[in-house]
């Protein structure tokens, strides 16, 4: 009996000694990992070296009536380009592209149909307009030769499609380019629409046990949420030729609880804030900050 107790004691002593030895070794050698901040440089997708100036012309915009997505997008991108790119930003009036396309259509003697639902049935699918950031380099002649009906009010993505022919109109953009001494032209479409969603959402909830200890547990709750979807498409046009150099599309959404009353404009800026680094990385060097773990 005594021998067994002695044996147990010596075993626990040995274990304790081993644990302290391991701890001592760890302390002496230092930790095996180290978190370090890094900055990943990102080279621009576009070669903008032939340009000294950039013109953020305007956007075909629609969706929520609470935000003038054309004005706000132009203003935001110009201010970002002023501080984060080498190009000189041209201060010009924001182009009302929606009206411009409609005028061009009128001039081509195409009737403007006001009801978007009817229009969509008649609208042929525009060709060559990728949605995943693929560059499109269309010739304006074929697009303008094919008259398309235009919805006057843009409520959803399909309403924007007939307007996209403007970006393929090289003659028009060349003329704009000449007017502003051949800059890089930034244009595109912006759709900012209200959005509601309901369903089960996983949220962390703080719970207290019988001993008063707090812990966080994931809980699934049914929620009605509302928010906005932002779908911009940035089109980069060579002001010297009027041709599209590159275009990219994005989609961001934000949802709040139904009780929360967030102004549309602040949601717009929140969503644009997520996209601006991607936009800038198309034409200027960017550094993405982060941390990584170095190992020994």
């Amino acid at each position: 009996m005594t021998g067994r107790i002695k044996g147990k004691r010596s075993l626990s002593l040995a274990l304790a000694a081993l644990t302290s030895l391991a701890a001592a070794i760890t302390i002496a050698c230092g930790p095996d990992s180290l978190e370090i901040p890094i900055e990943t440089p990102i080279t621009p997708k576009l070669d903008v070296s032939p340009f000294q100036r950039v013109l953020v012309a305007g956007f075909v915009a629609g969706g929520s009536e609470d935000v003038d997505a054309n004005q706000e997008t132009v203003r935001l991108l110009r201010s970002q380009l002023r501080t984060k790119s080498q190009l000189k930003v041209i201060d010009a009036d924001v182009m009302p592209l929606l009206d411009i396309v409609q005028e061009q259509t009128k001039a081509a003697a195409t009737p403007v149909i006001e009801e978007p639902a009817i229009v969509r049935e008649n609208v042929p699918t525009p060709g060559g307009q990728g949605s995943t950031g693929q560059g499109s380099n269309g010739s304006g002649s074929s697009a303008s030769a094919q008259p398309m009906a235009l919805p006057k009010v843009i409520k959803e993505e399909k309403d924007l499609e007939p307007y996209e022919r403007l970006f393929a109109n090289t003659a028009y953009w060349k003329k704009i380019g000449e007017e502003y001494q051949n800059p890089l032209i930034v244009t595109g479409t912006v759709l900012f629409v209200p959005h509601t969603s309901s369903g089960f959402v996983q949220r962390d909830q703080e719970v207290m046990d019988n001993f008063g200890r707090r812990s966080v547990r994931p809980m699934r709750t049914y929620m009605e949420r509302k928010g906005f979807i932002l779908r911009p498409k940035f089109v980069f046009i060579d002001g010297r030729t009027g041709a599209t150099m590159y275009s990219e599309s994005y989609r961001e959404e934000i949802l709040y609880s139904a009780q929360q009353n967030t102004p549309a404009l602040s949601s717009y800026f929140e969503l644009m804030d997520r996209l601006v680094p991607n936009f800038l990385s198309a034409l200027s060097n960017q550094k993405i900050k982060g941390t990584r773990v170095l190992l020994k």
Partner: protein
């Protein structure tokens, strides 16, 4: 009891094992020294020197996952994203269950996927 003579081949194999064991340990020891020096200089912002050290470490010990991980991070910091991906792949191949390497790789992928249309800096 009859003592049979041990075949020469067996003796040679045992001898090789005895030599290879410490040799591997030596390689890891030397590579670890390079890795630690690399970490030291990287903390001071000398990433090119760190790359040199970690490249040397993986040359000395090509089975050292941590060295490949560190090298991948340094390549990432220098904008050499293709090289970074290769080094991460190798690190994960050597140590697939290492959560820290996996986490680094996931963060890298997020950036790399976002810029996959960008030009690679040589």
């Amino acid at each position: 009891m009859i003592l049979r003579p041990v075949p020469l081949m067996t003796l040679a194999a045992i001898g090789l094992l005895l030599i290879a064991g410490p040799a591997r340990a030596d390689a890891r020891h030397d590579a670890k020294a390079e890795v630690e020096f690399g970490i030291d200089v990287a903390q001071r912002g000398l990433w090119r020197e760190a790359i040199y050290r970690w490249e040397k470490a993986v040359e000395i010990d090509p089975a050292y996952a941590a060295a490949f991980n560190d090298l991948a991070i340094a390549y990432e910091h220098e904008g050499q994203l293709q090289k970074a991906r290769k080094a991460y792949d190798k690190a994960l191949e050597l140590d697939p269950n290492n959560t820290q390497i996996r986490q680094n790789y996931e963060l890298f992928k997020e950036i790399n996927d976002r810029t996959n249309q960008g030009k690679e800096k040589s």
